[in-house]
Assembly symmetry: C3
Homo-oligomer: 327 residues x 3
Amino acid sequence: MNKQNIQLDQDGGLRHFLTIEGLNRALLTDILDTAESFTSITEQTIKKVPLLRGKTIVNLFFEASTRTRTTFELAAKRLSADVLNIDASISAATKGETLLDTLNNLEAMHCDMFVIRHPNSGAAHFIAQHAAPHVSIINAGDGSHAHPTQAMLDMFTIRRHKGEFHNLCVAIVGDIMHSRVARSQIHALSTLGVKEIRAIAPRTLIPAEAETLGVHIYNDLREGLRDVDVVIMLRLQYERMRGASLPSEHEYYQLFGLTEDKLSLACPDVIIMHPGPINRGVEIESAVADGPRSVILQQVAHGTAVRMAIMSRAMRHKIVVAGGESS
Amino acid sequence: MNKQNIQLDQDGGLRHFLTIEGLNRALLTDILDTAESFTSITEQTIKKVPLLRGKTIVNLFFEASTRTRTTFELAAKRLSADVLNIDASISAATKGETLLDTLNNLEAMHCDMFVIRHPNSGAAHFIAQHAAPHVSIINAGDGSHAHPTQAMLDMFTIRRHKGEFHNLCVAIVGDIMHSRVARSQIHALSTLGVKEIRAIAPRTLIPAEAETLGVHIYNDLREGLRDVDVVIMLRLQYERMRGASLPSEHEYYQLFGLTEDKLSLACPDVIIMHPGPINRGVEIESAVADGPRSVILQQVAHGTAVRMAIMSRAMRHKIVVAGGESS
Amino acid sequence: MNKQNIQLDQDGGLRHFLTIEGLNRALLTDILDTAESFTSITEQTIKKVPLLRGKTIVNLFFEASTRTRTTFELAAKRLSADVLNIDASISAATKGETLLDTLNNLEAMHCDMFVIRHPNSGAAHFIAQHAAPHVSIINAGDGSHAHPTQAMLDMFTIRRHKGEFHNLCVAIVGDIMHSRVARSQIHALSTLGVKEIRAIAPRTLIPAEAETLGVHIYNDLREGLRDVDVVIMLRLQYERMRGASLPSEHEYYQLFGLTEDKLSLACPDVIIMHPGPINRGVEIESAVADGPRSVILQQVAHGTAVRMAIMSRAMRHKIVVAGGESS
């Protein structure tokens, strides 16, 4: 089974959401447009729509992540779904059985969607390959492979500020090697047709495949920031950098920490993004993170609407509207 | 107070669900019939009924069990109840106070039902004996005593496949000594009137009281499987076998592991059951667990409907229908 | 920013609920009156009102407390709000980022209310000072500073039994020094105009500021109990008494444990209160805790209604009634 098709149903619509790879521009744009309609809901007095009432969504986390779990739980509840949180990293029962037995059991309980977080790259794909026909899988981060819902909320934030993608020069700064977010962002930016993608990092934190993805590589932050429209900072994740030769935290900040000073080389209307949580003074200066060009909290705000969009699109065949079934 | 009556209200209806002992065939059949009506709900697009709207169900677990907690949470949510999950095994507050003080506090908050999981046999009975009149107790497993909701979902699965109970020969295989599930199954099968119940296990894993329950004992799997209609495998639970002399895991599998080969001695339309989670290659061969005669995942699927049935029957006096109170 | 005003909006209504200090008698009475109306709801068959439907309430606990979390979760669900439980004491994500970044992220997700439990005194105030305009903060206990919702449910219980406050003599007994509950109770009793407040404790467990609050200090329990109308026992919290010189548990019970014998000195219709969980035989005799003058479980019962009142008053500008916005 190939990665390109498993995410789509026979009509070419979204069934699973595992990776940006293999999803075309029309489908990504449809998600962004749907998220646009949910944005107003999250700002209303009653922040709820009955779209997924009576559906069961399971947050199945094989790696603890309160933050990510919370964003999916919130999105699911605002769609009126029932949510089960399963911390599979501490569950004795799930440890004794195989991953597929755990999956099959939850499927048998007529759950409709699994939001999977797993430390191993490819785990969400593996689960999707074995999922029952009535179940949709959402990848909430698998190892260093992909974190596609984060990439989509980033795209949504960029579109809200810049309107169109085709004229943009976007720089991704930091530990691209170990970042599942960066990998998903590069695929999304490329599919949505930005003019230029730059990867800015020390040589040791640039993955070998970066050039094949059409990314321009910079090992100097000042050089790479010149005339960019969007800067996406990555979180420095020490826990993922086993064996990578890295300068000291202080030295890293000197060279690759984003400061007001370095940022002056970018376009005047540049926006600054970061997937959070921020390491202040490590990869980004507080003045930048909290400054007028930062859209970091807007990313968080858009995260709910974008996840609502992805969940409801993947379950669109199960949604009942006004007495009938909708597509 | 005797165990036979505490579960029933003055009209002979279900109030608590603690053990199969003392419940008659009519009452067990009523639960199975009610579950039948819920089965269709769990397969609908909107898997929810408003029966327990505005009721509060507390999962009060003195022993961690993600799997069991999940099944009860799902059943409660599909009945539209509000659910509180309390992990009393790690709660500092509950450790400092007595079990009855914990109970009394939750009762004072006008909770309607407690689903109790406890490592000590008899804990659910103890709590039911001291429960306020407005509260129902469901036993979700107490030590090696009982696990009656599991037994009821097993009975439901058998009835779905075999129709009637009176002609059946049912074999329970494995660690019967330490199994709360086996104890509940034997009582349920006996009450529902099966022709023959067999217990198949090494001598050291057969409890002394087995014969008094009218169970036929076999220490040889091949002999015991001859002409049976239903095989219920038990999970080998090393953690419960303190002091029991047990052969090695390999030797156990040779003698008591269920394989296609051994199964050929049973009736051609035999069904294979297991409460999960499965230890593949310890008590059961994968070819059997995943084969056409296995109904293991159907057991899981029926678990939601059966737990919905038990919960709603125990709270039937509190259910409002179309403006009035229903029984 | 002063502590007196941050809790109120421009109309003098409740916005945050951080401490009793600075709230006037009219506002406290309004909360008690609102709670009165919710009491009947928690006793109905369907214990739910749609007041906060579509609102998101986050239990953000930087200190584990299953009991307190449960009471707020229950109150929120009975108001039909969506509830997110975040155990910030174990969340790796929140540890890496600053408290304000955690807060800002949850605000960006359009959460409406944060219920904060924190080991540091002043944490809830700090968060309220930096909260976005659309967010209300409820203090669920901050260090040894305040626990105002507990104090309000105590006031509610007193009013239910005694009617008026102005004739009452109320004794608070135990570790007043380290008790956030005692501090909040003293402010509430004083604001509601009781005749006399007594603090009864060993010298080492009386805080220096007690006398400035108009409290009469007793170091002898028998003396202090004479003719009191209400006795509020405190929980002896060894974990909070770093460095305080305390007699042995046995010696403490001899001197300051509440017994039937000592209680005979109080008014005949005295009521006994305790915030729970009780240390039986340490600060209170079981005969007293479970006796006819104990209203301890009624406190728990009223806790839900009082927390529903505080939550709904703090969000009253966001409540939609019959198609419009209500105040």
